[in-house]
Amino acid sequence: MVNAMTSNKNLNRMAWLGCGLAMLLLPLALAASNLNLATVPERRTVQLTIYNSEDLTLVRESRVLSFKQGVNPLQFSWANTLIDPTSVELTFREPGAALQVLDTTFPHDRPQTLFWNVQSDADREATIEISYFTSGITWEADYLAIADPEEKTLRLESFVRVRNQSGEDYENAQVRLVVGTINLVEKIAELARLPVGRLDELKREEYRELRLKAGRQMMAPAPIMMAETAVAADMAAPKEIIKEGLSEYFIYTIEGTETVPNGWAKRLRSFEADEVPMTVEYRYRPREYGDPLVRLYLLRNDAASKLGGTPLPDGTIRVFRANGRDGLSYLTRQSLKYVPIGDKIELNLGPDPLVVFELVKRKVYRDNLWFQVRGGDLYHKLGESGLRLELDSRVAGWDEHTIYQQRIRNYGRQPIKAQIRREFPGDIVFRSRLNPSLHDFQTVQFEAEVPAGGKAELDYELIARTGYNQKQNRVELQAGEVSR
């Protein structure tokens, strides 16, 4: 068998190099000699479970083997792949109890190879399952959002893209994708051995071309049915991706099987939703969005928004707006963090040049001045009657009043809603008529609506108790008129 295989032409041979995995059943007497080889069983099924948080894929493949009564040595090798040898496991689907792995040996002189000794109670055929971790197969989500020209709804499409750089071609594999963050103590790529020399037998270019050709062939769709036979068949629909919970994770199973040759990537639609309601809001939150006032599309991953079938895995989202003439306007590209079902989705479009956002410092004054007398523990307030403060008394505490006006000018054609958050460290009184709230102990939040073509002038006064006067480290909200 091996002779027949190795005498094949280059293309076949390359396909095998890519496959890399060989399963050899050895006669008992020749367990260590590798001279007479009984069979090279083919994969019956293969399932890939790909994790997106780590470079990790669980491969589970099944093969059918004939066993003789007694001890059967098996050889398993995986040259030129990125398999973690410590993860390779052999199990028996049927008949389970009749077969038993006695031991596993990693020979020192045969890299990327292991031997199993399997005890069989009779001569029999059995379906075995081999599972292992490999690196080099990854998947990621990406999204396409196209807002309608009025920016009331958007169309959201979600995709999954599987990349195969594992060194192994996986044909007709069932593909499952895991959304979640798992813990690994070692990287699979480090555990896997580096590919060794066999690829050098061909020149690099020649090799690339052959691979590409083989890849394109594998990626070709199934042959077209003849008109007569296709009458009853509907148009091929995009594959469904079934989403299920798995412990703290989510698992996506792609309908049917996929072929992803080594080096290729494939992108499939995970879901699409039309006319997803959204709102437009402007926000000033320097800690989250940086210094400018930014424009956001806000939507929610729930059923009311025609979403909510699945959490949205981390991925890149590209946002366009339809221009009403079949064309698009490019708005932004951003990374989207995992969005659980029911949670909100924020798409940050960046600053809007038609909305001018300025903070004007209108006035500063100080009062409640306290002096430290001669550097000691004695403090006096300025203006206390009968008190004379000599030159060696120094200002030690004061209240600094700063009057601000937050101006928002909306030159756009739609009214806007703006939310402003500002952080004020220290012992602060925030005085205004803006009906503000505290986002946290030192962050004040307030809102404003600005009509199209209009402006908002939001006045507030900060009183910073400074130096000796500082008794707290928090913002106190106070309703009142600001000083003029």
């Binding site: 290729w264 499939l268 079949d326 064309g327 410092k361 209108r362 403060l389 030159y411």
Partner: protein
């Protein structure tokens, strides 16, 4: 040669769904040409190219191969949209998946069709190397009261791709169709605004524009044109940022160049202020005339400061001078920077009423009217004073 290669290099290759052996033989079944190209330049930095092609499909699953070379298409931004078919030829088509071959600038769409026929598709992608800039050219009349303003768009094509005809949209102005060749820069006039009122201003601002002669305390007097984006044809759209060159009718059928500036993005109803050059016929000397310190208590002081401006208008026309001062700069000059904002009050100098719209806790703006120089005598000297009290300094 390169050009010819390129014209074909961005092509859609249709690989009909076929048995693998057949696939190689019918590789070049058709090469649909671009029916239409739109280039969206409305994003400040990014060019989005949209091309429409008519793609023949057979019933079943088709492979549509899109490849490019020597150009900076961002493959992650590629969007294929199948436009609705005409009612008389209904054909439903859907994208099933996209595959990305290794080491190639290419991708393969698997497209399912309900029947054999042609569909119109629109392919959109972000293309690097295609940039734009706006600029303005204005000719003012002799009296400098109005000007004719032209808004021009320049498209720079370094994308290594030629367009026999493309419709451009810059976010403002009208859409227009033009060919755009390789490495070509195309300039078009987007809009023209006639008889736009212009306000000419003179300013002194020691912080922003400094001194003409520091030893003589003589300030620079920059001259600006101020144009409001409102009225007439203006005010309907923002004026994007761009370089503006201003000319003036020279009265002899020609024009003279007055100066240029980079104009800022100007939304409707806002003002565009362009600094054209220095006015040498308005002379301003600025001195600190008085600096008194009074101790309030301990190490706490009050400062009384007076700035004096001696202004001469040598022009034979009246003018308005804007005086801009930074109180913080004044404070730092007379007593050093304490790190605190100055607390101040305006005193009884001649400059008492600052423009509330243009003034704040630090900056003050005063407007002073300057009469024209008399025809028969020297320019009168105006003296103005700005008196400030700086409180609670230590």
């Amino acid at each position: 040669m390169n050009r010819t290669r390129w014209l074909y290099s961005l092509g859609i290759l249709l690989l009909f769904a076929a048995p693998l052996e057949v696939l190689a033989r019918i590789k070049l079944t058709t090469l649909p040409v671009r029916e239409r190209v739109e280039i969206q330049l409305d994003h400040p930095q990014i060019a989005l190219v949209e091309e429409e092609r008519i793609v023949p499909l057979v019933k079943g699953v088709n492979q549509v191969d899109f490849s490019w070379a020597n150009t900076r298409i961002d493959p992650d931004t590629l969007v294929l949209r199948i436009l609705p078919s005409p009612v008389e030829q209904p054909l439903e088509a859907r994208v099933l998946s996209v595959s990305y071959p290794p080491n190639e600038n290419a991708l393969v769409w698997a497209v399912a069709a309900s029947d054999s026929g042609a569909v119109r598709v629109r392919i959109s992608y972000v293309l690097g190397g295609l940039s734009k800039d706006f600029h303005y050219r204005a000719v003012a009349d002799r009296a400098e009261k109005t000007l004719n303003l032209a808004q021009l768009l320049r498209v720079n094509n370094n994308a290594n791709e030629a367009y026999a005809s493309a419709e451009f949209w810059a976010g403002v102005g009208e859409r227009f169709s033009k060919p755009l060749g390789l490495s070509e820069t195309k300039e078009v006039q987007l809009s023209r605004f006639a008889a736009v009122p212009v306000r000419k201003t003179y300013t002194i601002d020691p912080t922003a524009f400094g001194y003409l002669d520091r030893a003589k305390d003589q300030l620079n007097v920059p001259m600006h044109y101020v144009i409001k984006n409102a009225g007439g044809d203006l005010g309907r759209e923002p004026l994007p940022a761009g370089k503006a060159r201003i000319f003036q009718d020279d009265g002899q059928g020609g024009t003279a160049f007055l100066g240029e500036d980079r104009g800022a993005f100007t939304p409707p109803d806002d003002e565009l202020k362009l600094y054209l050059g220095l006015a040498r016929d308005i002379a301003v000397r600025r001195t600190v005339d008085r600096n008194d310190r009074q101790r309030i208590a301990g190490n706490l002081y009050r400062y009384d400061v007076t700035l004096k401006y001696e202004i001469e208008n040598f022009k034979d026309t009246p003018a308005t001078l804007d005086i801009i001062e930074s109180v913080r700069q004044i404070r730092d000059q007379i007593r050093g920077d304490s790190g605190r904002d100055p607390e101040w009050q305006l005193g009884d100098g001649t400059l008492r009423d600052s423009d509330p719209e243009k003034s704040d806790a630090d900056q003050l703006l005063f407007r002073v009217e300057l009469p024209a120089r008399p025809a028969d005598g020297p320019a009168p000297k105006q003296i103005h004073t700005l008196r400030l009290t700086l409180n609670n300094e230590w």
